[in-house]
């Protein structure tokens, strides 16, 4: 029994980080109807930024989070103007391919620079042990940061001028344009924000698990699942979806072989898509 509980708690902790990873994807998707297929590659960039930061300065990985946010935002704005701006409003295939090609470029450059060997960010925090089960400090810390960032994003979208502009553009681009909102600038800001979130989640994941240049793919797939569970363009939903995914994984593992988890995950994904195309948690749209 305690084994199941431990497994579920672990699921919640990791799920919060999944949720943060998905937040960037869902924000971009919801605001400009672009599924960012370079999401995984961007998560990996976040991982490497933290890696080089800690190995160069010896500083704690958590101190790097604000810097990762800032760098991610800047990178996102640049990416938007290079590859996304032209395909806004075009058929979905175009934006999928534009972002996918970006994915190839980032992964390709990353492979050339860092090979595909695994990297580690050494972080050690005291964990909590209960009856043989240990919850590591890094997991708890990552989950806490994820929740704080989710809350900050929620407040930003709700109560600040740029946040309101993003929401306005998301709900009706033409109307926003008519009201004098410079939609393209707002879109680039939203894209930058999405990329920044992806980078931060990558930074946090790097403190938990080893990673390679190719690690992003699996987190990207998980982000899709989370986004579909949580509903489009809904950061709060993404956090809930992430935790839901973590709990499902946690609940499943004591009863089935771990290798079955992906079947459960993707089965759930497809069924949710068909049954609730707008997401299970869509009702709580922020």
């Amino acid at each position: 029994m305690i084994g199941i509980l431990a497994s579920v708690i672990d699921g919640v902790l990791v799920g919060a980080v999944y949720g943060l990873a998905a937040m960037g994807l869902t924000l971009i998707w919801g605001v400009m109807n672009v599924i960012n297929l370079s999401h995984g590659a961007i998560i990996v960039l976040g991982m490497f930024v933290v890696y080089f930061l800690t190995s160069a300065t010896g500083a704690s990985a958590y101190l790097g989070v604000p810097l990762v946010l800032a760098l991610g935002f800047a990178a996102g704005v640049v990416i938007y103007w290079i590859s996304v701006n032209r395909v806004i409003g075009q058929p979905i295939l175009m934006s999928l391919l534009a972002t996918f090609s970006l994915n190839m470029v980032i992964i390709g450059l990353g492979t050339a620079a860092w090979t595909t060997s695994p990297y580690n960010v050494p972080v050690s925090l005291p964990g909590i042990s209960v009856r043989g089960y240990t919850f590591t400090g890094t997991h708890i810390m990552a989950a806490l940061i994820a929740v704080v960032i989710a809350a900050a994003l929620y407040l930003f979208l709700r109560y600040t001028r740029p946040g309101k502009a993003i929401r306005a553009v998301a709900s009706n681009r033409d109307a926003a344009e008519l009201n004098g909102i410079p939609t393209r600038q707002v879109l680039s800001m939203a894209f930058g924000l999405g990329v920044a979130l992806a980078c931060v989640s990558g930074a946090l994941i790097a403190t938990l698990f080893p990673f390679t240049v190719l690690s992003g793919g699996s987190y990207q797939l998980k982000s899709f699942v989370v986004t579909v569970l949580g509903g489009l363009g809904n950061p709060a939903g993404a956090l809930m979806g992430g935790i839901a995914l973590g709990v499902v994984e946690g609940l499943a593992t004591p009863f089935t072989p771990v290798s079955w988890t992906p079947i459960i995950e993707f089965g759930l994904f497809v069924i949710t898509l068909i049954a609730f195309p707008r997401g299970i948690f869509a009702f709580s749209r922020a």
Binding site: I92, L96, S101, M104, A112, W260, I263, F266, I274, P277
Partner: protein
Amino acid sequence: MNESVSQAVAKAAAARPRHAFGEELLRQARRPFPWLVVAFTLVCGLVPYLADDVGLRESLLLAAVYVTLASNLNLMIGFAGYVNFGNIVFFGLGGYIGVYLATAWHVNLVLASLAAGILVGFLAYLFGLGILRLRGAFFALATIGVNEAIRAFVTNFEPWGGATGIYLSMDAYEPLGGPMNGLWICYFLLVAVMGLSLLLGYAIKTSKFGLGLLAIGQNEDAAAVLGVPTPRYKAIIYSVSGFFPAVAGSLYFFKSGIIEPTSAFDLTASIESIVMLMLGGAQTVTGPVIGAFLYEELRGYLLVSQTFSHFQLVLAGALLLIIVLFVPGGFMGWLHGRLPRLRRWLE
């Protein structure tokens, strides 16, 4: 003016005898394009054989597989406007079914491949019932989900060897006259599948069914109001677009001698076929051929080039981005724009 309207409508109303199927076939046979496809297929099949060039054969074999994938993908993406990101699932499943039948049950390769095609077509129809209700990006994601779920399932499916996959013993090539002969036979069959895929694409493009698909691809709701039976057409094309990739998968993995989940359900291969389609030009029959050959050449060159082998992904990605941003019609779109007359010759 009003008179002409009533006249036109009345004229259109006057019942005409329908063209019989045979007559339609005859009409198609008088057009140059199908013969171009046949000639191309023969050239592909015979040149490496006559030149006895195994290296050329291997390179053309991959190109033939790519053409088959891209051309069938075109049915979904180019015609029906449904972005199928998990298209490779047909190829992988077909490969598994074909290789399994050929090794465990000792079914003849051709029969096993046909069975794989039919079974996968049927499975696709069933999946389609579920996921074809989704539109746009949601459909694209669902196809990824289907591919990943099936990959995870096959990884755990022991009769198919789980994560290890199925290995062919060298005996498996004996019915084909040994491995060397077997490779040639697999090659000819794959080239034939490529030719048939192209003819299928052409037949659909020039048919009423194809017109209906194009209408769905442009605006599904409007198409339905115009009378296009959208659910049926979508289910049919999703199923049909799975047939030849499955046959090709069966032949390809038989030729390879091994099938395992990671290579059979490789999402990257799916996306690569989209890249080829875009490179050559969607909505055309020739586009996938040009795209596949160009891409295979490029990839092959980059892979073994000392200078670029580390940058192959970067270059391929940059190329794709340029196409998407500046030449969305691909090579054929560009060519047709330049030389509209060519439209009559190269579909």
